[in-house]
């Protein structure tokens, strides 16, 4: 089995990507709507829309970078280790990984309190996550559950992708002209 044959299909990618989208876009959107009441004190609806567009474009970029992680792992590892259970393992990998990023993010308050320790330990945390991911094949029930959840979340792609496409056009137009 060569490397390219272990590139996941779109059908495999969609549920994993949808989990990423829900986490990444959800994190930003909660903060965005929390910010709207102060934004409208001094911004027009159009300006609020532009801020939303920049946010969505950053989210699109982030989600595409993150989805590369399971794809690359799938390609470089033996098929049995990752590719054959791409959806379940991919979902667990990105969920735990993004969860850790969220944990770090919640600890960034001031320069003095920057969570250097959390960042320093992150390679070990990610190795631990990988170990968990490899053991997932032994817990069939959890695998099924993760696949089921990911499938349910695919509906969000029908919202996030068109919205991101429009946002990307808005940002490009503003920066080209």
């Amino acid at each position: 089995m060569n490397v390219t044959s272990r590139i996941p299909s779109l059908k495999q990618l969609a549920p994993v990507y949808s989990v990423i989208v829900v986490a990444v876009y959800g994190f930003s959107m909660v903060r965005f709507f929390w910010r709207v009441p102060s934004l409208i004190n001094y911004s027009t609806v159009g300006q609020v829309g532009v801020i939303f567009s920049y946010t969505a474009v950053v989210n699109l970029l982030e989600s595409l970078i993150i989805v590369l992680a399971p794809i690359v792992l799938s390609m470089i590892l033996p098929g049995k280790w990752f590719f054959e259970q791409f959806v379940a393992k991919g979902v667990l990998l990105v969920s735990l990984g993004l969860g850790y990023f969220g944990y770090i993010s919640s600890h960034i308050n001031t320069e003095e309190e920057f969570p250097y320790l959390l960042v320093k330990w992150s390679p070990l945390v990610f190795i631990a996550i990988l170990v968990l991911v490899f053991f997932l094949s032994r817990i069939k029930l959890l695998s099924k559950f993760l696949e089921w959840v990911a499938e349910q979340l695919e509906v969000f792609l029908f919202i996030s992708l068109p919205v991101s496409a429009i946002a990307l056009v808005v940002v490009l137009i503003r920066n080209i002209f």
Partner: protein, 505 residues
């Protein structure tokens, strides 16, 4: 064919050198070369963020914080009753640059914006296209205002120019800087409230790593930085940059909005602990709207601030020596001012407060006209909104009819002690509605009236006689009903007229 003098030629060469190192100003140098034969006097505004006139020895402060500004004052008009139109960067800078009060331009909130119908009414537009128009808003909040006027500015230097560490994302998108900063730096990647789950923590980690690696040499309390954005800078780099930039300018209007002495107050080592002295200003009663900071905290903050101001003054001295050597004072109006002041009394530190006492509202204004050799002191009340009409006048342009200020005395105007001028604070309300929660101070003659509305069930006033009580300690409002009535009616009428378009019928 017009001739170019030897002096002009040397200045042209001086202008070309910095252009090599700072590509942003290359076009400016080119245009300066072309325009040299018909050069007009430069107008250079050097604005220091949060510099209170009350803490400057040039205005009588007991600590020797500004010996170099005192030296500069000997060749300048010194305005002793100059007042900011707002109490933090957004409204105050907008007033200076639009010549209108905050209730007109409506940039009243943190990160607020000048309303669209005011955007074309700005100082760069008033100066006209015959001048090169350069802006360097080192404070990012000033950039949020200045970049709204980008189409009237020939060269807009980024806030990170002359900086040491820069993780500002928005300014990397030059065609949409204003909205990009608002979106990326003020929201998505805002350090303390990240809205980006993945790239946010990564970029923050890189920024904090680079900031930690920055050599603290020369700055015992840390290298100066922007309080709200990921930017660090050294005073010497900043002022060396200006010493290279300014002498090369010709027929230029330059608005240089410097971040220091805004908090955090980080004096250079030669001034650190300089004011561990016996100066202890008389404590004033804690105001009910203050943050109730302890007196020891106020005294420490004041000392750090004063030491930082002295550091900046030392750099100003070096800069002005360069100006002298390069002949800048001979062909330029050099204007030293601030956007707003800083407060260390009544339980309040800094300036984002509902309180509009003198330390926050009284700002320096010193103007040296081309070739001026003598000092002139002006005691009549003046306001930041007066700079726009004055700059328009000295650059040979008509005073725009929308300007709410008047010509400054000594530069086309006359001293008017009975004139009313205003400062407005209304950061908590929508800029699209009436200013229902606000503090407004009015200076008229020897009196200052402060009006608080929307904070409590009943609105309140304070009245001070600045001549007999410059420290604003004795509230005359209850004791002087006739004056109180006349002044409060004028203030309320003016406020009501300004707010009328925003009050729903």
């Amino acid at each position: 064919m017009s001739k170019i003098s030897r002096r002009s030629f040397l200045k042209m060469v001086g202008g070309a050198a910095p252009a090599i190192f700072f590509p942003q100003i290359a076009s400016l140098a080119d245009k300066a070369l072309m325009q040299s034969a018909v050069s007009k006097p430069n107008v250079i505004i050097l604005l220091f963020d949060a510099m209170s006139a009350r803490n400057l020895s040039v205005y009588g402060y007991p600590r020797p914080t500004t010996p170099n500004l005192e030296r500069f004052a000997e060749r300048a008009n010194v305005y002793h009753s100059h007042v900011a139109s707002g109490n933090f960067t957004i409204p105050a800078t907008s007033s200076l640059l639009t010549g209108t009060y905050p209730w007109t331009h409506r940039a009243v909130n943190h990160r607020g914006m000048v309303h669209q119908e005011i955007v074309d009414k700005n100082i760069f537009h008033a100066v006209g296209m015959e001048y090169q128009r350069l802006a360097f808003p080192q404070n990012v909040w000033a950039d949020l205002i200045v970049s709204q006027f980008a189409k009237d500015i020939d060269t807009l230097l980024p806030s990170s120019q002359y900086g040491s560490v820069n993780y500002l994302k928005g300014e990397k998108l030059p065609n949409d800087t204003n909205m990009a900063i608002r979106s990326l730096d003020d929201f998505v990647f805002k350090d303390h409230e990240l809205a980006s789950l993945f790239l946010g923590p990564l970029l923050s980690a890189m920024y904090f790593r680079d900031a930690a690696r920055l050599s603290k040499e020369g700055y015992p309390r840390g290298v100066p930085n922007n309080e709200n954005y990921p930017l660090y800078f050294r005073l010497e780099d900043l002022f060396d940059g200006l010493a290279t930039l300014v002498p090369g300018l010709q027929s230029t209007f330059a608005y240089i909005h410097l971040y220091p002495p805004h908090a955090p107050y980080r004096a250079a080592s030669r001034f650190d602990r300089r004011f561990l002295d016996n100066y202890h200003p008389e404590p004033k009663p804690v105001h009910r709207f203050s943050s109730h900071s302890s007196n020891s905290r106020l005294e420490t903050a004041r000392r750090f601030y004063d030491e930082y101001v002295a550091s900046i003054d030392w750099e100003i001295g070096n800069l002005f020596d360069t100006f002298e050597k390069e002949g800048v004072f001979e062909n330029s109006y050099v204007i030293v001012t601030a956007d707003h002041g800083e407060m260390f009394e009544r339980g309040e530190v800094a300036h984002t407060t509902p309180l509009l006492y003198a330390p926050v509202t009284n700002i320096p204004l010193l103007i040296s006209a081309p070739g001026q050799k003598i000092r002139r002191d002006v005691y009549a009340p003046t306001n930041a909104v007066d700079l726009l009409p004055t700059v328009a006048h000295v650059t040979g342009n008509p005073i725009p009819e929308w300007a709410e200020g008047v010509l400054l005395p000594g530069l086309g105007g006359v001293e008017d002690f009975e004139r009313s001028t205003f400062s407005v604070e209304a950061k908590k309300v929508s800029s699209f509605g009436p200013l229902s929660t606000a503090t407004i101070s009015m200076h008229k003659g020897m009196h200052k009236l402060i009006y608080y509305t929307g904070y409590e069930a009943v609105d309140s006033f304070e009245l001070y006689d600045l001549e007999s009580d410059p420290e604003e300690l004795e509230d005359l409002y209850p004791a002087q009903p006739a004056i109180a009535k006349s002044l409060s009616e004028e203030l309320l009428d003016t406020f009501s007229d300004a707010d009328k378009p925003y009050v729903k019928k």
